[in-house]
């Protein structure tokens, strides 16, 4: 029991993923700044933002909404992100518990933050938040099919294994999945999926700073907004870690820790560069992009896997 609580709250749970995610959030902002020839924020900036929101600011509850659900939704988001993080990182770090990383559980837990953002935004009673919520819903419908096909392709490539640890073991005894044509195609689809899951710029229409002024988060202030920031930090860490575990060999012991860090930083760097070099697309374009092109890529990858490429 105690060890399970330790796994959930300290390592590789809440505190570890939050700190790693905060670092990656700083990395994101710093790289964005460097791309725009700016200097960028200091290293501890995500920490200042989080503690300012958590400790200093006042919480304002919506008069025309449902305050209970409004406050509960960010907690649900943090819970989902942390659970997904624990279930991804336990197999990735090769910590042997009874759980070997059932990939479908991880898939469902990863959708929990997006769903709780929708619930929270609709509970706030703000029309702009409602528009953001409906956009987020359409975005989920667009990318979830691609994401589950992507996971199915990885399962197929590993020889019908549904647990993350066996998938990593398969790669470590053979070659990493990304070292083949189908693996590269899957990596492309996976990166765009997590770009949409993180609501980063080509797919940030639920937040849409310019037109919806933060959209789904418009009514959040103080501690609930800090919880949303925390959930976003955690997602920014665990989704690249998930891609690394599925396609890029996971982690070997010893010096492998360094390689794992470099691989995660590389994936985040790719995400940030895509974010900085693309304008926001319309929701219709995003749907077409995922329904037609990304699904096509994953289906081609599945066919190639069936032929053993």
């Amino acid at each position: 029991m105690t060890v399970n609580l330790f796994y959930f709250f300290i390592f590789p749970g809440l505190i570890f993923v939050a700190v790693a995610g905060a670092f990656l959030s700083w990395f994101d902002r710093k790289i964005s700044a460097r791309v725009q020839f700016r200097k960028g924020p200091p290293l501890l900036q995500p920490l200042y933002d989080f503690f300012k929101l958590l400790l200093v600011k006042e919480t304002i509850l919506p008069r025309h909404g449902s305050p209970f659900i409004f406050v509960l939704a960010p907690l649900l988001a943090v819970f989902g992100a942390t659970m997904a993080g624990v279930f991804i990182l336990l197999p990735l770090f090769n910590i042997s518990t009874g759980f070997r990383g059932d990939i479908l559980v991880i898939f469902y837990l990863l959708t929990l933050p997006s769903f709780s953002y929708i619930i929270g935004s609709l509970a706030s009673g703000n029309p702009l938040a409602a528009v953001g919520g409906s956009r987020e819903m359409k975005l989920i419908i667009s990318y979830e099919l691609t994401f589950i096909l992507f996971i199915a392709a990885v399962i197929m490539k590993s020889g019908q294994h549904f647990d993350l640890r066996t998938i990593i073991d398969t790669q470590q005894s053979g070659t990493p999945f990304i070292g083949s044509i189908s693996g590269v195609l899957l990596f492309v689809a996976g990166v765009f999926c997590i770009q949409a899951k993180l609501a980063m710029v080509p797919f940030d229409m639920p937040e849409a700073e310019a037109e919806l002024s933060e959209g789904i988060f418009i009514e959040y202030s103080g501690p609930p907004y800090a919880m949303i920031k925390l959930a976003k930090f955690i997602m920014l860490f665990i989704l690249p870690a998930f891609i690394v575990a599925l396609l890029m060999n996971g982690m070997r012991p010893g010096i492998g820790v360094l390689w794992l860090i470099l691989k995660i930083l590389g994936v985040v760097l790719l995400l940030v560069l895509i974010k900085n070099t693309n304008p926001r697309v319309k929701i219709k374009q995003a749907s077409a992009f995922f329904f037609i092109w990304m699904n096509l890529i994953v289906v081609i990858a599945i066919v190639l896997i069936a032929f053993g490429l």
């Binding site: 700016r38 200097k39 960028g40 924020p41 501890l44 300012k52 200093v56 933060e214 959040y220 202030s221």
Partner: protein, 137 residues
């Protein structure tokens, strides 16, 4: 300065309210976020919703219609909130001070924490004002 206060000073998120402005101050405020001046060095971000704001930046002369909006925004902002009046119009009324729709300078409507005069103030002046604001108390 305690830990809470320190975090607040290091992460000021700015909400920009333009009254009946001639847009020169708006341009200079945007200038502060460009590569040359880059206010994100100090953790300052421009946010789109008043619920996320720590600083309410007011420029332009406030006329009778703007007054209600400004009061609304001030009441809806999560406390603590700092108010900065930018430009001659925000600080005193400037050339509009005797206009018939003028509803008073910003500090006649809501309490102001910092004044940055100028028509328009240079970005350097705005940065100096923000740094003084962050080091206040």
């Amino acid at each position: 300065m305690g830990f809470k206060d320190y975090c607040f000073r290091k992460s000021l998120w700015v909400f920009h309210f333009g009254g009946a402005s001639c847009n020169n101050c708006d341009i200079e405020i945007l200038d502060c976020l460009t590569p040359r001046h880059d206010l994100e060095r100090f953790g300052i971000l421009l946010v789109g919703s008043i619920r996320h704001a720590d600083v309410l930046l007011v420029n332009g002369s406030i006329n009778t219609r703007d007054k209600d909006r400004l009061l609304d925004l001030y009441r809806q902002a999560p406390k603590p909130i700092l108010v900065v009046a930018i430009g001659a119009c925000g600080c005193t009324g400037g050339i509009f001070a005797e206009g018939m729709t003028f509803a008073g300078p910003v500090d006649a409507i809501i309490p102001v924490d910092a004044y940055i005069p100028g028509c328009p103030p240079k970005p350097e002046a705005i940065i100096a004002g923000i740094v003084k604001l962050a080091g206040k108390k």
